[in-house]
Amino acid sequence: MVEVRLENVTKKFGRVVALRDINLRFRDGKFTVVLGPSGSGKSTLLYLIAGIYKPTRGRIYFDDKDVTNLPPNKRNVGLVFQNYALYPHMTVYENIAFPLKLRKTPQRKIDEKVHEVAKLLHIEELLDRYPHQLSGGQQQRVALARALVKEPAVLLLDEPLSNLDALLRVKIRAELKKLQEQLGITAIYVTHDQAEAMALADEIIVIHRGVIQQKAPPKKIYEEPANLFVAGFIGNPPTNLLKARLVDGAIELGGSRITIPARLPRDGYIVVGFRPEHASVDAEPLENHASIPGEVYVVEDMGKEKILTIIIGGEMVKVIAPPTAEFKPGDKVYVNIPYRRIMLFDPETGARIEA
C-alpha cells in the first residue's frame, strides 16, 4: 500500500484547464472520495494517478517514488471504470486473469488468484460467461475483481456505482466499504453523489472546475463547509443560502434584523446559510435563535419527515420538520435557526466567514 501525493499538478487539454495547481495527499490505507459535479476534472485526476495522462505541470509521487513519467503498466494501480470497460471478447475468468497473464504469472497461480478474488466478490459462478451475459451489478463486480486481482498499491474507482439502480447502489456501497477495510488498501473513489461520498469516505475532497474546494473528513465537510460551493453541494436538500444586507453590524433578512454573536463588517452584503435539518418552523420566534418570519409555500410529506418550502422575503428556503408537524400552504410561520448553526459567507470570494 502506498501514499499518493500530487504536487502542483496542472493538466490542460489544449486550452481547457481540466485541473489547476493541485496539491493533495491520499493517505495510506484510507478511503478517499473525490466529489464534484460533472466536468469538474475527477476522471482526469484518476487518469493522472493511473498514468494514462501525463500532467502538464507538477509531479506525482507514490510514497517517495516519483512516478510522474512512469507509464501505467509500471505503476501497479487498479482502476475501475464508470462503464466497467470489460473486454467483450474474453470470459469473466479471462478478464480477471488478464493483468496476471500480462505479468507472465504461472497458470496455476493465476487460477488460484482468480478463484480467490471471485470468491471474495461472490462471482464464482459467473466465471465462464461473457460480459454481455452479465447484469450491470455483476459487470461492476467483475471490473472490481480485475482491478483487485493484481493486488494493486492503489485502487482507483471512477463512479463505479453510477450505472446501478438506487437499491443496488446502496447495497454495494456498504460492501465496498467493508472490502476496503478488510484489505486495508489505499482507495481513491470518484463520484458526483454527495450521499455516496459521505457514506464511504475517511476523507472527502471536493473539486469544482479543476480546483480543490475543500479536503476534510465527511463530518467536517458537512458541518464546516469551506465555501459557498461546498455548502451548496453537500446535503439533501442542499444548504439554504440567502443573500442579506448588513446594517450597523446586524443582518437584515426577510424584513427582520438578526444580531449574531460574531464580528461582522458594519455594512455591505453577506450570504447566510443554514441546513434544512438544522432549522425549525414554529408559530413564534424562539430564544437563542435567529427567527425569520415567512410563509409556508409547499409541504412535501416524505413519511419519516416533512419537507417544508418557506418563502422568506421573496426567496425560498427548505426546512425539514418532524412528520407530526401540522402546516399547510399559506400559514404564517417563523423559521428559527440556532445561532451556532448559522453559516456566513463572503459574497465576493464565496469563502466562509469564521464566527
Binding site: Y47, F98, K101, L102
Partner: protein
C-alpha cells in the same frame, strides 16, 4: 381477393422481410445471377468468334470446353504458368494487403491524430489515381531502359552496371514479374484494409484501451490481446473480400502485360487469361473462356467459404437482440 392476399402477405413478418430484401435480391439477380447462368451456359457450347447463330444452340458436347481447359492446364506449359502465377499472386498480394493494411491501421491508430490523417491520405493516393495513370507510373518506374526510374537510381548508386528488364528478363523470371504484380496491386490494395481496420479500431471504447494499459499491457500486448481480437470480424471480412477481388482483378495486370513490362505468361493471372481468351484477336474462344470463368467462380466460392470457416465465422455471428 388477390389484392387482399397481397396485403396480408406484405403485413406479415415474412412479407416485411421480402419487401425490404427485394431491391437487393433484384439487383443480385440481374447483375450477378443472370450473367453467371449465362456464362455457365456458354461454357457448355462451342461458341467462338462471337458466331452466336452458329454455335449458341449447340449442346452436343457440353463438357468439351472443360476437357480442353483441363488438357491445357495439364499439358500446355504456358497455361501451367498462368495457374502458378494466379496462386502466387493471389496468395502473396492477399498477405500484403491484409497484413499491410493491419499494420498501417495500427500505426495510424497509435500515432498522433494530426500525423495520422496525413499518413492515411498518403496511402489512399494509389486508389484515387486512375488505373491507367497509376499503371503508367509503375511502367516508368520498372522500365527496362536506363531511363526507368528504378534502373537509373540503381545505376547511379552503382548497384547494377547495365539496365535490367525487371519483369521480362529470363534470369529474373518468374519472380521478377511476380514481384512487380504483387507490388503494384498490393499498393492499391492495402488502403482498403487500412481504412476498414482503422475505423474498426477507432470504434473500440477508449476505456478498454486504457484498462489494458492499466492492467499492465505493453503496446505489443495491447495489440495482441485487445486490439486484434476486437477487430477479428473485420479481418475476416477484409480477407475474404480481398481474396475474391484478387482472384478476379486484371485491369492493372492487363496494361502491364500489354505494354510489355512483364512477361506474357508469368504475368498473366487466371482472370486475365479468361479476358484474353474471350476478347483478344488471337483467341476469341468464348466457350473456353466461359468454362475458365465458371471454374474461377467455383474456386472463389470454395475458397471464400473455407476462409470464413477457418476464421470462425459462425462464432462471430452475433445473436439477435431479442425477437425481431
Amino acid at each position: 381477393m388477390g389484392a387482399e392476399r397481397l396485403r396480408s402477405f406484405l403485413t406479415s413478418r415474412r412479407g416485411h422481410l421480402a419487401f425490404f430484401l427485394a431491391p437487393a435480391l433484384t439487383l443480385i439477380t440481374i447483375f450477378y445471377l443472370v450473367p453467371l447462368i449465362l456464362s455457365i451456359y456458354i461454357s457448355l457450347t462451342p461458341l467462338k468468334y462471337w458466331q452466336l447463330n452458329r454455335y449458341l444452340t449447340d449442346l452436343s458436347h457440353p463438357l468439351e470446353n472443360y476437357y480442353r481447359l483441363f488438357y491445357l492446364v495439364t499439358h500446355h506449359p504456358d497455361i501451367g504458368k498462368v495457374v502458378i502465377t494466379t496462386i502466387v499472386f493471389t496468395g502473396l498480394t492477399l498477405v500484403v494487403n491484409v497484413v499491410g493494411g493491419l499494420l498501417l491501421a495500427l500505426a495510424t491508430y497509435l500515432m498522433e491524430e494530426r500525423f495520422s490523417l496525413f499518413y492515411r491520405t498518403l496511402w489512399l493516393l494509389p486508389r484515387m489515381t486512375p488505373i491507367a495513370v497509376y499503371s503508367l507510373l509503375w511502367y516508368y518506374f520498372f522500365h527496362g531502359s536506363r531511363f526507368g526510374i528504378l534502373n537509373s537510381i540503381l545505376l547511379s548508386l552503382g548497384v547494377i552496371h547495365k539496365p535490367v528488364w525487371w519483369g521480362v528478363d529470363e534470369k529474373l523470371l518468374p519472380w521478377g514479374a511476380w514481384m512487380i504484380l504483387v507490388y503494384v496491386n498490393g499498393l492499391v490494395g492495402v488502403s482498403f484494409g487500412m481504412i476498414i481496420f482503422y475505423s474498426a479500431l477507432r470504434s473500440i471504447p477508449r476505456e478498454q484501451v486504457m484498462a489494458a494499459r492499466v492492467d499492465g499491457a505493453t503496446t505489443t500486448q495491447l495489440i495482441r490481446y485487445v486490439l486484434i481480437p476486437s477487430i477479428k470480424w473485420h479481418i475476416v471480412f477484409v480477407t475474404v473480400w480481398e481474396l475474391l477481388s484478387l482472384l478476379t482483378t486484371y485491369a492493372h495486370i492487363f496494361l502491364l502485360v500489354e505494354w510489355g513490362l512483364i512477361d506474357k505468361w508469368w504475368g498473366t493471372t487466371w482472370a486475365l487469361f479468361v479476358f484474353n481468351t474471350a476478347f483478344t484477336a488471337q483467341a476469341l474462344d468464348q466457350g473456353l473462356a466461359a468454362a475458365a470463368a465458371t471454374v474461377l467462380v467455383a474456386i472463389g466460392l470454395v475458397l471464400g467459404l473455407i476462409t470464413l470457416k477457418i476464421m470462425g465465422f459462425k462464432e462471430l455471428m452475433i445473436e439477435p437482440r431479442g425477437e425481431l
